[in-house]
Amino acid sequence: MSDENEATTEPAATGRRSFLGTGFMLTGIIASHTAALTFAARYIYPESRKTTQRVFVAFKEAIPQGASFAYRTPRGETINIAHTSAGYVALSDVCPHLKCRVHWDRVVGQFICPCHDGRFAADGSPISGPPKEMNAPLRRFEIVEDGNQLYLEVSA
């Protein structure tokens, strides 16, 4: 009788052991490889450097009302700084559509993007082309006035 019980229970026990063994093995393989893939993905994904720095751009007396000049940041972006009746305005030259560089067209008095003919007014607001459709103006930078000096907050 007892022999019969052993004969019927042993394969079940072996099956459970085998199932558990395979389960642990599969869990281990999946866990270790998921971890490895996560590390690899994190390795490939670049560090985003969103820090900013304050840079000196000009003395106030160097930009009389109505005048403007182009300032180049340490990272190579050109920022057009103008002294308007509303105060100082600083605009990026990077088109918000696909990051091409806009240039100032003196004849039409507009910033023009050569990639898809996006056009902007002197205050950076979109006039026509994809930027107008997206309602995306040129990026404005904050100008900090400290005494008779002007500073910009730009990417470090």
Partner: protein, 349 residues
């Protein structure tokens, strides 16, 4: 060591029966493939080998760093002996490869050769076509001239319009917040490492499926009268492919001499040139981008790409829903649309 001894030594170290390998590879080839225009699948495979060899030769001198990339390409083109020839072959073989893969896809499409049970042969082939285009894009960007630099900038920005994955994908492509040194390194790694590996793996699956299913048999009236409907892969078809290869390398060499790979202005990240255009095989996407706007263009192109890759399943779904086979009219419309957009962009200033 005698020849017999050497063969015995090799057989004991490599216990593989050469006859078994030959018979497994020696698939019966249908008679219609005696015509060269049915061998367009072998043509890009040959061109890929040309690209691999010339690409390795170019990496001997190319420097994937923004301050040196353009100069190194100029050095290859104007100073290294036969550098102009190697670069010319590499450039023209890339263009020919895209043409050959597209023609191959069109032939398979309009003969219905993608249908059950060959759906996944099409899927792998369609992904190979997309990879070939990415190959062209990354390779062109490595030159680091004005047009290629701004092409890369625009393309990287395009990806940001894709929902959810857009921004992370653009970060991975650019290797940072903007196109720069990180981007060039990544494009280089993609061009010489990631893409070739992916292409070879897909090619193995693609050719394995072609071998497993056999080539789709197309019956021509001329062939129907012949008693023997197939011919041998070794050596008959292989010789045809080698013959095509010889013609191709001659034509490529002529193109490299008559239309040498030039060099535009060096990339200037601070000035976008007045007129930017991508390579001709992206003209249709560029024109579509201008017509449809950023978000719509990216989403519609993504959807079109998805339908293209999984077309055999869409084809069956359309047939079930409409009870009509609309593959040919849909294909003709798609080809005409791509051609029209390409020509439009080519003629535009």
């Amino acid at each position: 060591m005698s020849t017999r001894g050497l063969m015995g030594f090799l057989r004991s170290r490599f216990p593989v029966d050469p006859e078994k390998i030959t018979s497994s590879l020696n698939e019966p080839v249908p008679n219609h493939m005696k015509r060269w225009w049915w061998c367009l699948g072998g043509t890009p495979a040959y061109l890929f080998c040309v690209q691999a060899i010339t690409g390795i030769l170019l990496t001997f001198y190319y420097v994937p760093e923004p301050s040196a990339a353009y100069e190194s390409v100029a050095h290859i083109t104007f100073e290294v002996p036969f550098g102009w020839w190697v670069r010319g072959i590499h450039k023209w073989a890339a263009n020919f490869m895209i043409v050959a893969v597209v023609l191959h896809a069109l032939r398979v499409y309009f003969t219905g050769a993608y249908r059950k049970p060959r759906e996944f042969t099409w899927v792998t082939g369609a992904i190979i076509l997309l990879i070939t285009m990415v190959f062209g894009f990354t390779g062109y960007s490595l030159v680091y001239e004005q047009l290629s630099y701004w092409g890369a900038t625009v393309a990287a920005e395009l990806t940001t319009a894709a929902p959810l994955i857009g921004e992370p994908l653009a970060q991975i492509i650019r290797g940072g917040d903007e196109v720069g040194a990180g981007t060039l390194t990544r494009f280089f790694v993609f061009h010489i490492g990631v893409l070739p590996t992916a292409l070879v793996l897909l090619l193995v699956v693609h050719l394995g499926l072609v071998r497993a299913h056999g080539v789709t048999e197309l019956k021509f009236k001329v062939d129907a009268k012949k008693k023997v409907q197939h011919f041998s892969f070794f050596p008959d078809h292989l010789l045809t492919e080698i013959g095509i290869g010889l013609v191709l390398i001659t034509v490529l060499s002529c193109f490299a001499v008559i239309f040498p790979a030039g060099l535009g202005e060096a990339a200037d990240p601070l000035t976008t040139p007045e007129h930017i255009k991508p390579e001709w095989y992206f003209f249709f996407t560029f024109r579509w981008l201008k017509l449809a706007g950023l978000g719509t263009a990216v989403l519609s192109l993504g959807f079109a790409g998805f339908v293209f890759v999984f077309w055999p399943f869409f084809d069956r779904l359309i047939e079930r829903l409409t009870r009509r086979n609309l593959a040919v009219p849909i294909g003709v419309l798609a080809v005409l649309a791509v051609l029209a957009l390409t020509i439009w962009e080519a003629l535009a200033h």
